[in-house]
């Protein structure tokens, strides 16, 4: 997908005018959130689990070189082949070369954000290999030439009517097909792909260093097919996917599935250790693990940003984010959206292209509260904003604004007269409890994308001075 992170404003205002999208987003994020709350309450010690998983990830990142060595040794000892890619270009070359060298015509692909990040499908097609997305959501997007908008529900920005119409046009299903008829059609078609495919390509949810095992989490069964029927299985992972021990895995699986879909356990968790063994009736003959850097080691080198690599891609921060809920994933302009996208994308793509994203937040803190590995997302958003200002990347008005703010906030007399003046001005703009400034240059464009509640008639400082007696 084309990177359009620098056009967040345009993308977002398009999204805000799309009522189909708004309805789809409300339904999906709302349902994810309520199921997550129930699943978290059900696991009595969820807070302890979050703390544990956060600590294990922090530890693993701190000694990542050691755990990578261990993982690679174990996978190779099991007969697997490990490939290393410094960037996306090298990664796609490794996969396409492997496919071509093995005479692979069809690849059964399971959902992998990393494969989107490195544009794998385009490269495979260019090499004459046919990649088939086998996750239902991803398949819908593939036949529509569209892109994922959510880590867990890639097609959640589409309504049922849009999908029914799409299947009717592309697959010849009835114009009024039900959801189960649409699903059955996809089952039939994709089953053929699984039988034809010579290679299955998957991501990795967790790689266990001590055993060389990879764990994959799903509900549909397409990952099981992709890792069982084709003769080659290639799994690709960013360097950050490691957990040290098998004993860590149950805790991570627990917080991932509860945070992502509100399930106690996803339908299928595949725990794969090497390829088919002697005496096993079926399974892939060869296992390849592709480990990709693509900007991650520079995030690792930045002690303030390193925590972002703890992410287990559960999507909970997206669902909880009031900005994401409104604009959807596409507005962010790259594969990772929502709060995690706003902190990860600047790390991977550079702040120049992405500095709008950390502003796509009201800093309400909801994302930090739900994150199962305790990434301090709000603080990282502020850190990126600070750096953008420092490097002169922030819009001029904001640089001036922050400079002026610092000047005034550090001088109580100016601060007091300013806040009083602000409240008087705000009263002039107050339209039914929120500010409208169609006629004030500069303010108008800022308020266009924001609902800004009218401020209280008296400031906290004023009330405090009066001993909070008069609480009008």
């Amino acid at each position: 997908m084309e990177i359009t992170t620098s056009r967040f404003k345009e993308n977002a205002s398009g999204a805000l005018g799309d009522s189909n999208l708004q309805a789809a987003m409300r339904r999906a994020t709302g349902s994810f959130l309520s199921r997550r709350s129930a699943a978290v309450a059900d696991q009595g010690d969820f807070e302890a689990l979050r703390a544990y998983c956060g600590a294990v990830k922090a530890h693993t990142l701190e000694y990542l070189d050691h755990y990578l060595e261990q993982l690679v040794d174990r996978v190779e000892a099991l007969g697997g082949t490990v490939h290393f890619a410094a960037d996306g270009e090298e990664a796609v070359r490794i996969v396409t070369d492997l496919a071509v060298a093995n005479g692979v015509r069809t690849v059964a692909k399971s959902k992998s954000m990393l494969s989107e990040e490195i544009h794998l499908n385009e490269a495979l097609e260019a090499a004459g290999v046919c990649p088939v997305e086998t996750d239902l959501g991803e398949y819908i997007l593939q036949i529509d030439g569209d892109f994922p908008s959510h880590i867990i529900g890639p097609a959640l920005h589409k309504t049922k009517e849009q999908i029914t119409q799409l299947f009717h046009e592309k697959l010849g299903t009835a114009a009024d097909a039900t959801v189960s008829e649409l699903t059955a059609a996809a089952r039939r078609i994709l089953r053929r792909s699984f039988l034809e495919a010579d290679m299955g390509v998957t991501g990795v949810n967790f790689a266990v260093a001590e055993t060389g095992t990879i764990a994959l989490v799903e509900n549909e069964g397409n990952i099981r097919f992709s890792t069982s029927l084709p003769r080659i299985h290639l799994a690709m992972m960013g360097i950050e996917k490691i957990v040290p021990r098998m004993r860590d895995l149950p805790a991570f699986l627990n917080v991932l599935t509860r945070s992502a879909t509100g399930q106690k356990a996803s339908s299928y968790i595949s725990i794969l250790t090497g390829s088919r063994r002697a005496g096993e009736p079926d399974g892939p003959e060869a296992f390849h693990l592709l480990i990709v850097d693509n900007g991650r080691s520079s995030v690792l080198a930045d002690p303030k940003l390193r925590d972002v690599l703890r992410c287990i891609r559960c999507g909970a921060c997206l669902n909880s984010c009031p900005v994401y809920q409104q604009v959807g994933g596409h507005a962010y302009g790259w594969v990772y959206s929502g709060p995690i996208g706003a902190v990860l994308d600047p790390g991977l793509l550079g702040l120049e292209e992405t500095q709008m994203l950390p502003h796509a937040s009201s800093l309400c803190g909801a994302c930090g509260e739900v994150c199962p590995v305790k990434i301090p997302l709000p603080e990282l958003l502020v850190e990126h904003r600070r750096r953008a200002v420092e490097r002169g990347l922030a819009p001029r008005t904001e640089r001036l604004g922050i400079g002026a703010y610092a000047f005034i906030a550090s001088r109580p007399i100016l601060w007091n007269s300013g806040t009083t003046g602000g409240r008087v001005a705000a009263r002039l703009l107050d339209r039914g409890g929120s500010l409208k400034a169609g006629w004030v240059p500069g303010l108008a464009s800022w308020l266009k994308e924001r609902d800004f509640p009218a401020p209280a008639r008296r400031s906290f400082r004023e009330l405090w001075r009066r001993g909070l007696k008069d609480r009008a």
Binding site: A28, S31, Q43, G44, D45, L49, Y52, A55, V56, H59, T60, E62, Y63, L64, D65, H66, L68, V82, F84, A86, L136, G137, I140, G153, P154, A155, L156, T159, S180, T183, A184, R187, L190, R191, L195, N219, G221, S228, P244, R247, P250, N254, K264, A265, S267, Y268, I271, L272, T273, G274, R276, E280, P281, D282, G283, D293, S297, S298, L300, A301
Partner: protein
């Protein structure tokens, strides 16, 4: 990029040198499972969770009863041909029924398998590639025969059973194959089995 250069870059990013010491990872923390090791309680919790995720549970007192249930289920689901694993319990239960095995696994209507164990905390079945991956995956109906003594509290306990010797593919299966990719509408049987029937023996 070769291995040394790749991992070297990571090491450099961390400001570490080859052979630098590695601190011990945090003490393992195993999620609590509010269920005692008492076998009656394990089975009860397992049954509730298994049915909660859409599995269908059948209790059998004896191998003969298990066979009768299986026979009835096969007829109810209009199963013409099956895939069968060669696990001892599965063989004992199915042999006298002289079921027709599918020539092409893609054509089978049902798969009949055992399981390594059942997981009480989540109502899951742990399946091993040791007996084959296809029978529990490809047909629309998955029929499982399991001794109730094979139910453990949680995934951690299940994994411990293998010691260090894991099969190439272990699957924790919890209920039928499902998707909610179209407007959050839950639909079962998208790629894997849409119906999971467990005959619990003893």
């Amino acid at each position: 990029m070769n291995r040394d250069a790749f991992i070297g870059r990571v090491r450099q990013a961390l400001g570490r040198a080859p052979g630098d010491p590695v601190a011990a990872p945090p003490q393992p923390y195993i999620p609590e499972v509010p269920v005692s090791a008492d076998s009656g309680e394990l089975v009860a919790r397992f049954g509730a969770e298994f049915e909660g995720v859409g599995g269908q549970l059948h209790r059998a007192e004896s191998v003969e009863e298990a066979r009768e249930i299986l026979d009835r289920l096969l007829r109810e689901h209009q199963v013409a041909s099956v895939l069968i694993t060669d696990e001892p319990l599965v063989q004992v239960v199915t042999e006298p029924l002289a079921l027709k095995e599918a020539e092409d696994p893609a054509d089978a209507d049902a798969g009949i398998t055992g399981a390594v164990c059942g997981v009480a905390a989540t109502g899951s079945l742990v399946l091993s590639s040791g007996v084959g991956r296809r029978p529990s995956l490809m047909p629309l109906v998955h029929l499982v025969v399991l001794e109730s003594s094979a139910i453990v509290a949680d995934l951690h306990t299940a994994l411990e059973r293998f010691g260090g010797d894991l099969p190439s593919g272990l699957v924790q299966a919890t209920g039928p194959s499902r998707t909610a990719d179209i407007e959050q509408t839950l639909t079962t049987g998208v790629h894997g089995p849409g119906s999971v029937q467990l005959i619990l023996l003893g």
